[in-house]
Symmetry: C2
Subunit: 305 residues, 2 copies
């Protein structure tokens, strides 16, 4: 259940990461890159995904159960909600339910876009559920940005098929290399074409509304795997903001602030435990591509109906 | 909630149709084409989809609840399980739970393939869940066919995006035409390319196994919308079997046998009531493409946890 890099026991902070599926492993990857000496517990509520079609009340109940598992049973001292839908609809409920700091992915994404944009016009691509919540538009508006959101429903299944084009992350392990190089040219061309169709529609809509967007926010935890392909396709000069990276940056600032001096001491290790509420096999099979390293054994957790 | 074509009251048999989503509307469409003078109640258990990642016990419990709704509350005298996963994993449980005849989609698909194939080697494309159940392989083996199954996870989202290429069904209503012609050339080209990639992989695997397939079974209720595109792509002479059509044929034979003389009498109407357990808006928006006519108002049903 744990992937320990190195041999000695870790005494870094314990960070809980929650997603409805395993896409949030891209947020965990970004955290591990910044805080290698922490302990991580990740749970994907795979039994009850997709959250997108469910009511706010139901999503909040599900997300709180996962948060309580991470805090109560895994000892998480910080929580990162690596799920756009849960961040949009349940962040308040989670913050009320657990006694530790809780961060979502949406505000950090908007804040990073704010820092990147000169025109103050930004584009956001996300799943249908996230777009329908208009959480990014609201978070962008709160920091003085005008956002145009577009749902791109084919990108998640393309990523899950592995048709992701050039490798998004360094190949840390041989297995990982094998998986990535399995995506041959015709598959990459399809994903490239799909993204360009969505992007053309989005840029046309922005022009129709008199916007001059200079920044594109990746508002879904699956999209970092498409980043090289996306960066090739966007107009010259357009900045691409990854909300997974942005959330990790924000979490690191918070954690360093709260746990000063608790990192980078001697020979501590990264310890990662992954849990899922169903479909453990799919999680193990696909998760490594998102995490950028093997996820190891995934524990099955029953959170009830 | 009802779409009545014509003015007089219908006295035809009441047929219940069940799916985890709305793809099963292609089965309902095939039934309506054959038995226009029946009454139909369709339920999509959209709150709890996808069934594919859930256990057999959970799927059986969900499917039985929907079946009991159709029989107990809607008066269905026959049930068609228009869901490959539920047909594969819960047909027995449903048959035990309700006192009316129950048909699935898998055995009819295999029987129709048996009638079509000369080489006795058939290909089956379906969702990952259906392929992992190997229900088609088992049903094909039972009728003396050797089947090679392949999951094609991108086809369902492509259909749901409306990137379906040339219109699959006659345009019965202006709205329907508008929806279909909205899929322009680049989108169709993507879907065509995706299908050809899957088909190439499948044909190569069949050759590697010494098979000489002459028949392709569409083992997912979404795929009939891709039929024109699929028929253009398959090798010359290959028969394409639609399990939605096959299930409707089988249901009509059963219903005519049980209810002899109860059809085609005078001026009766088709009455269709559609229900969903969640995401009614998406059902109403996309369902018409699957049904080939407007689905009308979709009733929201709460079947519990």
């Amino acid at each position: 259940m744990s992937v320990a890099q190195g041999s000695s026991h870790s005494a870094g902070p314990t960070i809980g990461v929650f997603d409805s599926g395993f896409g949030g492993l891209t947020v965990l990857r970004a955290l591990v890159a910044r805080l290698p000496h922490a302990q991580y517990a990740f749970i994907g509520d795979t039994a009850r995904l997709p959250y997108g079609s469910k009511s706010r009340r139901t999503i909040a109940r599900y997300a709180v159960e996962s948060a309580q598992f991470l805090v109560g049973e895994q000892g998480a001292e910080f929580l990162v909600i690596a799920c756009n839908t849960a961040s949009a609809l349940a962040l308040d409920a989670i913050q009320e339910a657990v006694p530790v700091p809780v961060l979502g992915v949406i505000e950090p994404g908007a804040a990073t876009a704010r820092a990147a944009s000169h025109s103050s016009d930004v584009l956001v691509i996300a799943t249908d559920a996230t777009v329908q919540s208009h959480a990014y538009a609201a978070a962008c508006k709160a920091v003085g940005l005008r956002a145009l959101e577009k749902s791109c429903p084919l990108l998640v299944p393309l990523v899950e098929e592995g048709w992701t084009g050039p490798r998004a992350f360094p190949a840390a392990v041989p297995d990982f290399t094998a998986v990535e190089t399995a995506s041959a040219a015709p598959q990459e061309a399809v994903t490239d074409q799909v993204f360009r169709i969505y992007l053309d529609e989005l840029l046309r809509a922005a022009t129709d509304q008199g916007m001059k967007p200079d920044t594109l926010v990746l508002g879904c935890t699956h999209y970092p795997l498409l980043r090289p392909l996306i960066e090739r396709a966007v107009p010259a000069g357009m900045r691409v903001i990854d909300s997974a990276e942005a959330a990790a940056e924000a979490a690191v600032r918070l954690i360093n602030h709260r746990a000063q001096g608790a990192t980078d001491e001697g020979e501590r290790t990264t310890a990662i435990k992954c849990f899922a509420t169903d479909s453990v096999e799919k999680f193990e099979r696909l998760g490594s591509r998102f995490l950028g390293q093997p996820v190891g054994h995934v524990g099955l957790v029953d959170l009830g109906g």
